[in-house]
Amino acid sequence: MTGIEARVLQPYKYGFVTDIESELAPAGLSEDIIRLISEKKGEPEWMLEWRLKAYRHWLEMAEPKWANVQYGPIDYQAIHYYAAPKRSNQLKSLDEVDPKLLETFEKLGIPISEQKRFAGVAVDAVFDSVSVATTFKQTLAQAGVIFLPISEAIREHPDLVRKWLGSVVPYNDNFFAALNSAVFTDGSFAYIPKGVRCPLELSTYFRINAQATGQFERTLIVAEEGSYVSYLEGCSAPSRDENQLHAAVVELVALDDAQIKYATIQNWYPGDEEGKGGIYNFVTKRGKCQGRNSKISWTQVETGSAITWKYPGCILQGDHSIGEFYSVAVTNNRQQADTGTKMIHLGKNTRSTIVSKGISAGHGQNTYRGLVKIMKGAEGARNYSQCDSMLIGDKCGAHTFPYIDVRNSSAIMEHEASTSKIGEDQIFYLRQRGLKAEDAVSMIVNGFCKEVFRELPMEFAVEAQNLLSISLEGSVG
């Protein structure tokens, strides 16, 4: 066996279980369960109606099979759609959060105390189906920014939520989005008023803890005219032999001259070396550049999950609006990823940039799937796409499916693609200069991903690099 070959994977660092009593809805999906969720959340009637409409639609839909991933049938009746740590009453301050939960998030490196190191970041921490804490609410409120768990936002700002919920990803958009619309439990809501530059990074951390549950969060961010917000989400889950479903929906709306930067560091449990267990990450994320000169930028670092199925996209409706997608996706061991983006150009002089870096190691299968669509009215649209794949070892795979649909002849499209194999010679070169093999791989891979990492907020760029090194640890013998 030569040097480059999968060996042992470093045990998943975030695989612990928090021993906390939780309230669990009975397994299975029905109108009664949806009514129960809605009731638990104290929702208004319109919200329940919307959920039921989505559910009835979902019943008629079929699970999509076109992705380049393989998995057994999902039993939707075996999943618990609501799980929440038990607590006696509504929290008044962060001090009242169950210490076990605080400890859990501390252990994950997510501070939900308003401490110095992350003084520039407001965090909403979601544990199974509920948000357990949101920091810096006051600081944000002073700037007029609303940052709340979405269940609270539905109660406290029903008009705002009702106006925008489903406006980008309708309840019947696709199978998993419909499922989410029916059963979503928590997630974050952010509203940046006109002309406000959000004073903090907003961040949500999602943790799945309970067994045999799914997590169905929903995030909605609205940036009014001339506002700016940068948002980051992170996630992890315990190591279990079963597959758990995570079907989220994220909607972003940017009005005239507004800008939203949305970053994801996805580290769901990827399953073991043999591919047992792990999260099915089936997610719908879409942003709408509704206003002129608006800009939405997606950055994702996908290192976890057994299977990833997500295509964060932008609808470039406003003239001169800009959509960006920067992605690093890693598949090691038996992980599978089918991910990419959709850029739909509607407005004039709209621009989009796609930079995708896929890294495959072990038996991992990594697929880039992207659609760039230039509609008739999108005079002067431009797209630049770059898809690079890196292979580590000879049992993994990289696949690229770039779709281009141009209906306006003034469009300018550029597409670059490359596939490289991380070479024994590269690793040897760095080792000859004194670096350990793991450090050599880490350096090569981080260099490969540099264009994406530099899009991450400073606080998280280093974390992303470390995460990448850990995910690939042991992939080189």
């Binding site: 024994e424 070169y429 080792r431 004194g434 350990k436 981080n446 264009e451």
Partner: protein, 254 residues
């Protein structure tokens, strides 16, 4: 005096083919040795085996470096112990700047020596000094390692790395190949400036011309995986004149 490097009866294979067939070589501190030989004679293999390239298997013999069993060490351990290989074909590392890479390498080596790590600012100072010592500007420092470099720039970059990492034993593998005469002079001059009585250099080359600038103490001719002849610097000139056929082993007399 104990030699710095002692190679004894070294045999090595690549893909099941025997390339080195019993190499013997002794290098003392302060010496410069040139290894010459025709294409395919095993010169580059010898350099790669010394550095520990995983593509080669040593089947016989031993190599001692400063009293240690060199063949038992990982490539990075050899580097940390002061062995440096200037590659014939330096590879590119996209997205990683020379400065970042060099600092990581230097710190890895310093760590094994029990020296504190250098922060980026201290490191830049070291880099400046080294650039000055070899008389080069900092144009390559913030470019990605060897990415888009010309052949000459790549070779110069190897020498810059050597200057920063301060090896005890430097092995230069065909550092002259692909260089025009001016570039050759620049590189040779830098190598000469880095010479020291406490270090040793092994220069692997096909052509004599490099040895006009890096004057060796000893010249060895490698033919068919063995050192066929050794001598002083005059041997290189003789080879230049007579060609490699001159040293080929004479056919056995029946």
């Amino acid at each position: 005096m104990q030699p710095m490097l002692e190679i004894h009866d070294l045999h090595a294979n690549a893909d099941g083919r025997e390339i080195l067939r019993g190499v013997d070589l002794v290098v003392h501190v302060g010496e410069v040795h040139a290894i010459m030989g025709p294409n395919g004679s095993g010169k580059s293999t010898l350099a790669q085996v010394l550095a520990g390239h995983p593509g080669y298997t040593v089947t016989q013999g031993f190599v001692r470096y400063e009293g240690q069993d060199l063949l038992d060490m990982d490539p990075e351990e050899r580097a940390q112990a002061g062995l440096f290989l200037a590659f014939q074909y330096p590879v590119a590392i996209r997205g990683v700047t020379n400065a970042y890479f060099l600092r990581a390498a230097l710190n890895a080596i310093r760590k094994t020596r029990g020296e504190p790590e250098l922060d980026p600012i201290d490191f830049l100072q070291v880099l400046e000094e080294k650039l000055q010592a070899i008389g080069w500007d900092d144009s390559v420092v913030n470019r990605p390692v060897n990415d888009g470099f010309s052949g000459g720039e790549k070779k110069r970059n190897e020498i810059l790395q050597m200057a920063v990492l301060e090896p005890k034993l430097a092995v230069l593998d065909e550092t002259d190949s692909g260089l025009d005469i001016d570039a050759l002079k620049t590189v040779a001059e830098a190598v000469n400036r880095l010479r020291s009585p406490s270090k040793a250099t092994v220069v692997v080359t096909h052509y004599q011309r490099l040895l006009n600038y890096i004057i060796p103490d000893f010249v060895h001719v490698l033919v068919d995986g063995r050192i066929a002849r050794s001598g002083g610097k005059a041997l290189a000139l003789e080879l230049e004149e007579k060609g490699y056929d001159w040293v080929k082993p004479e056919p056995a007399v029946a």
